[in-house]
Amino acid sequence: MKPDERSFRIALVADRFVNPPPGGLDALAVLAEAGWGAMQLPADDYPADIAARILAEVTEQAEEFIRHGYDLVLVGDRDGLAETLGAAGLGVPDRIVPADAGELLRFLTARPAPDVASWSWLSPEGGNRA
């Protein structure tokens, strides 16, 4: 059994970096290399009411991570995100609009360790549940 391998680090990622246009930056590859998780922001081509509902769900989940001391950053941007976070009493995380993979990787690896680096109840031998 492997121990829990979570990194306690998550990036809110604009859709254009999750589904990059031809030649664009594949942020998922960089995040995987750096050991970060991703929370995808809704694509710009969704109707405003649908995007607003998704942003609300993303915010609710981000709130849970923040209250447990996980590190959150923002890669790119999304109209309405700041307002939705603000309505939940959250600020916009530290942000980068990377020009290339190297810039994003440097940004991620320069982050300080999150407030929570482990949970005492995570068993060393792990369990790996679904």
């Binding site: 998922l28 995987a32 929370m39 849970e64």
Partner: protein, 194 residues
């Protein structure tokens, strides 16, 4: 750390369709304690989607926003309350709205869940009607069983109600017979059959 080759999208690639993936496949930090298989992104699934030219859409994690990061491991029966059903129904409606937009544009859609999960299982979920109370149970207790997780079930019902067809498959890391090559082949077949 799982490393993927290449950080730039190919110069030309048409999207073959849209894969709506379980939240934890892009963010293992959302897993129940002791459940994270890697630091963040579960690359074996992402790699197949990239290789096959599928667009990625991340679904919300129903357990994270309902029972939180400190939740216990659970089987279907423990989560299957009226309130959790309503919560999953609300999330499923939001995801179905997104799927409807894609399907309305003629894009193929597949759902990729997490086999063995009480919420995100597609063909295999976790079940034990006797489980409850003090969270201890005998070693070897069988809990994996054929069936859908609660969120996947609600989403399927919502898509059926709207008359939207979507292929469905699951990541198998939590199953005792998990084999990376078999998982990859299964995902490739799911995508290629669309």
């Amino acid at each position: 750390m799982e490393r993927r080759e290449g950080r730039a999208a190919p110069e030309s690639r048409e999207s073959r369709g849209v894969a709506f993936v379980a939240h934890c496949l892009l963010n293992q930090n959302s897993k129940v304690g002791d459940g994270a298989h890697c630091a963040g992104i579960y690359s074996p699934v992402v790699d197949v989607l990239r290789d096959r030219g599928w667009r990625i859409e991340q679904m919300p994690c129903p357990e994270l926003s309902f029972t939180g990061l400190n939740r216990f491991w659970a089987v279907r029966e423990q989560l299957d309350t009226a309130a959790y059903r309503r919560h999953c129904g609300r999330l499923a409606a939001a995801v179905a709205d997104m799927i409807a937009v894609r399907a309305g544009r003629g894009e193929d859609v597949v759902l990729i869940g997490v086999e063995g999960s009480p919420s995100m299982g597609v063909r295999i979920t976790s079940s034990d009607p006797a489980r409850g109370g003090l969270p201890e149970w005998p070693d070897g207790t069988a809990e994996l069983t054929s069936g859908e997780g609660i969120f996947v079930e609600e989403l399927r019902r919502e898509l059926d109600r709207r008359g939207i067809a979507a292929g469905r498959g699951g990541e198998t890391h939590a199953l005792p017979d998990h084999d990376p090559l078999t998982q990859r082949a299964g995902l490739e077949t799911l995508l290629d059959e669309r």
